[in-house]
Symmetry: C2
Subunit: 205 residues, 2 copies
């Protein structure tokens, strides 16, 4: 019955993958550990062996799921262009990747729909909150550069720009997750990014 070390690591990863899918689809409370175990083709015992309990699994999962969005950002920055070009690219790439990457969908869902977190998970909520704050701060620093170089309209604070940006990004993804058949993130992504970054208002030059 005992498996080799790498086999064990594999089932551990399988459990994390399965948990990500089920948690993001059904929420924390509604997911039954037996569903996760079944999807990973083990029994619940494996979960308790690797993660101690349900909350431990969720904890681990969130740690492994973090720092995914940052990869897209660095990739978009590397391709160069103006400040607005980069912001546009971040949105377009995020939208397209969400539509085509099931795993990323699940991670986004996990971050966006973190209600119904049990009392025993308040520390997790707090951690996510802190992470989002530092993320906003980081984006705000970038936005400040955009303001300083005259590529962003003045009169709006860097933090407002930052909040506006990720609010939009999350809002679009959220909307799509709620009804994926309604529209295509890949096809409409560029227009959605354009409408946001260039604004709705028609300014005659």
């Amino acid at each position: 019955m005992k498996k080799t070390a790498e086999e064990a690591a594999r089932t551990r990863q399988d459990l994390l993958d399965a948990a990500l899918g089920v948690f993001s689809r059904k929420g924390y409370h509604a997911t039954r550990l037996v569903d996760i175990a079944a999807e990973a083709e083990v029994t619940r015992g494996a979960i308790y062996h690797h993660f101690g309990n349900k909350a431990g699994l969720y904890r681990e999962l969130l740690d492994s799921a973090s720092m995914v969005g940052s990869q897209i950002v660095t990739e978009a920055v590397q391709q160069g262009g103006t400040f607005i070009d980069i912001l546009q690219r971040i949105l377009v790439m995020t939208f397209a990747r969400v539509e085509n990457d099931r795993r990323l969908q699940d991670i986004m869902a996990l971050y966006l729909f973190n209600t119904d977190l049990a009392d025993e998970l308040t520390d997790i909520r707090e951690k996510v909150r802190q992470e989002s704050i530092t993320m906003i701060d980081g984006i705000a620093a970038q936005m400040q550069m955009g303001i300083d170089t005259g590529q962003l309209r003045p009169g709006i604070s860097a933090h407002t720009y930052a909040r506006s940006f990720i609010a939009y990004q999350n809002g679009v993804v959220d909307l799509w997750l709620g009804n994926p058949q309604a529209f295509s993130l890949t096809k409409e992504g560029a227009a959605l990014a354009d409408a946001f970054l260039r604004g709705f208002a028609y300014q005659i030059d």
Copy 2:
């Protein structure tokens, strides 16, 4: 033990109010009927008497909570102004009202975080989905007018404008609900709306 007819209606409403608060804070699965009953200062028996079961209570709640956003829209339209002015006003009013109205906060949370809805509530999810579709269609019709009258930039479809708009509105509210102390929806509302509607890009006229 039997109360007068209007007393009964009162406890029924108390239960709905209590349910809105608890459901929106903890999610469907995590809320215990005893919590709702306690907050309404009755026992669970009252819930089963008035609503049959937990799902019935949630169902009723969602019906009574619907059609709140439309009120803001009509109010914003009545005040007149250009198309962009009205859109701006809708955002600003929504943001400000969310920050100051606990009930509206709960309703928004209920709509935004509708994950973890039990298998017995798939019909509710479907209903919410349908409502959001017709809402988007309605907004798109308005946006089409904005395009036709040259007040919205051409080259973007009415539906994309509509999705963009409510994605942003929801995104900002979602962001704030996740961390209300981080910023003030009332104070930053105008800037957030402005950044969105006029765009980030600095266009030199």
